[in-house]
Amino acid sequence: MSPALAAHPSALVQPAPGDFVRVGVCAEATRANMDGIANIGFILGRTGVAVIDPGGSLTDGQRLRASIRATTDLPIRYVIMTHAHPDHVFGARAFLPDHPVFIGHWRLPAALANREAYDHARLAAVLGEAATGGPVIPTLLVHDTLSIDLGGRVLALTAYGAAHTDTDLTILDQRTATLWAGDLLFAGRVPALDGNLTGWLHVLDQMAGVAAVRAIPGHGPDAVPWPAGADDERRYLTVLLHDVRAAIASGQDIDSATAQAGRSEERRWALFDAYNGHNVTVAYKELQWE
């Protein structure tokens, strides 16, 4: 077994029958984990498979594809990308031989085109050129909602306004009442804000009404109870909103705000220092115009 695989929690888990999750490691991308840091997986229907997030690199995508092939011979009909971040989509090209339909948020094609050179350079510097891979531009776009059928298994896809990113998409597996939340849901690992803070809190309200009993977070364990599993994230985002608003109201500039806002959450999250300052910056930029 190669060191890359050994360092990797490659075993699939099934939080619900037919919902297969490969839990990502809680770390930044390294050559050892091959950017297998996000929760990715697939849903198995009677007539085919839908991949939900093809992985963080070509290597990561190939590993997921091998796991699927070890599970079923049914065709991989769909590859659904929950948003534009590389740790979720750079494995997409591993699935090109299967000729699936690639699905994403209506803004995803532009976001991928805009980000790709930058994300590729950053990731290739860590993983090496050959292993990096890249996204595939989706051809089936979700403007609001869309249903796909895997054979007696209907998946309800929903596209949202700017929240974690401006390309967020969720998938509800109606048969098991399992919500694949992508990075709209972080559990354990500190949420990363790359979209709109007030928008994200609004989207969490929308998602709370989804008829699911569990959700699969984009980062965290294979599943958390729904909607209670979003409580920690909502608290963090609310603290961030409150602290950054207070910093702006008291005339604090952006650099002292980054040092202070959200600090009360420090001990509650993994990788807090790697993201909180960035989150404060993004939130400040948004909230300074309220």
């Binding site: 534009a84 803004r107 094609p109 532009a110 976001a111 085109a113 805009n114 980000r115 050179a117 930058y118 994300d119 590729h120 350079a121 950053r122 290739a124 510097a125 700017a162 990113t165 401006d166 790359d194 979209g195 709109n196 005339g251 500039d253 952006i254 650099d255 980054t258 300052g277 960035h278 404060v280 910056t281 993004v282 930029k285 300074q288 115009w289």
Partner: protein, 272 residues
């Protein structure tokens, strides 16, 4: 620096802001090549005038590792004894290295200037002050950041355009005529550098950026700033000034699309 000089500089450094991998390669650059670059950039901007490094007189503060390459807060403090007339902020490795040039007027108290910049790659940042006697002094700082020029983000360009030209002024203390006071000016402007893609049309958003910001009170200048694409979206300037009387503070912003935005901010009388 005029548009032509900016374009010349951009051309001479290969410009390709989108080639982030270039930035990665440059991360490994030696100190010697950084010094050589600064030599070239400084010669182009200041027409070969001698520049003396003086980090006692001039202090430059910036995060060593940027949290967000598209918004790097920078703060320059100038020693109380120094009499400066102009201040230039240079991001050596950006496609357009001059981020801002301030010319201070009679009401300025030029001992603190803050702004927010974009940083496209690991780079030296220079502040160069022109003293009353015409001499130039500089200080520098190294920043680790990448992708500020083309850095992807969740910003909605339509929302940014809807807000364009909106301004906010925040005084950090109550103004007293003749006494120095700090103020923060915030200008809503995409400051688009032509390197971001419009998510709807998938065409590159044409460059549209703030070219000048003039702040004055009762016809007396506080400062004029010439900006460029290296300023962050929604340009922010913190500055010091000595209010003269109670006239409002007038702000005039010109952008590269030949649009002029004006706003007057009344200065609330102290103690009322």
């Amino acid at each position: 620096m005029g548009m032509n000089a900016r374009l010349r500089l951009a051309a001479s450094f290969g410009a390709a802001c989108l080639a982030a991998n270039l930035g990665m390669a440059r991360a490994a650059e030696s100190e010697a090549s950084r010094a050589a670059r600064w030599h070239d950039v400084a010669a182009a901007i200041f027409s070969h005038r001698p520049i003396t490094e003086n980090s006692d007189l001039l202090h430059l503060e910036a995060p060593p590792r940027a949290l967000d390459a598209a918004l790097v807060p920078v703060s320059i403090t100038i020693g109380p004894s120094a009499r400066i007339v102009a201040l230039t902020l240079v991001v050596d490795d950006n496609p357009a290295p001059v981020a801002a040039k301030f010319a201070f007027g009679t009401l300025a108290d030029p001992h603190l200037v803050k702004t927010r910049i974009r940083v496209d790659q690991y780079t030296l940042l220079h502040a160069v002050a022109e003293l009353q006697d015409g001499s130039l002094v500089s200080t520098s700082r190294f920043i680790k950041a990448a992708g500020g020029c083309s850095a992807p983000g969740g910003t909605d360009p339509a929302a940014a355009l809807a807000r364009i030209g909106r301004m906010k002024l925040h005084l950090l203390a109550a103004p007293v005529p003749g006494m120095p006071v700090e103020a923060e000016l915030l200008i809503s402007h995409p400051n688009a550098n032509g390197m971001q893609m419009d998510p709807v049309t998938r065409l590159y958003t044409p460059a549209r950026y703030v070219q000048s910001v003039q702040v004055s009170q009762g016809g007396q200048s506080v400062f004029t700033m010439q900006g460029d694409i290296s300023l962050a979206e929604d340009p922010e300037i913190t500055f010091g000034f000595r209010p003269s009387g109670t006239a409002p503070l007038d702000v005039v912003v010109d952008d590269s699309a030949k649009t002029v935005f004006r706003q007057s901010f009344p200065l609330a009388p102290h103690g009322s």
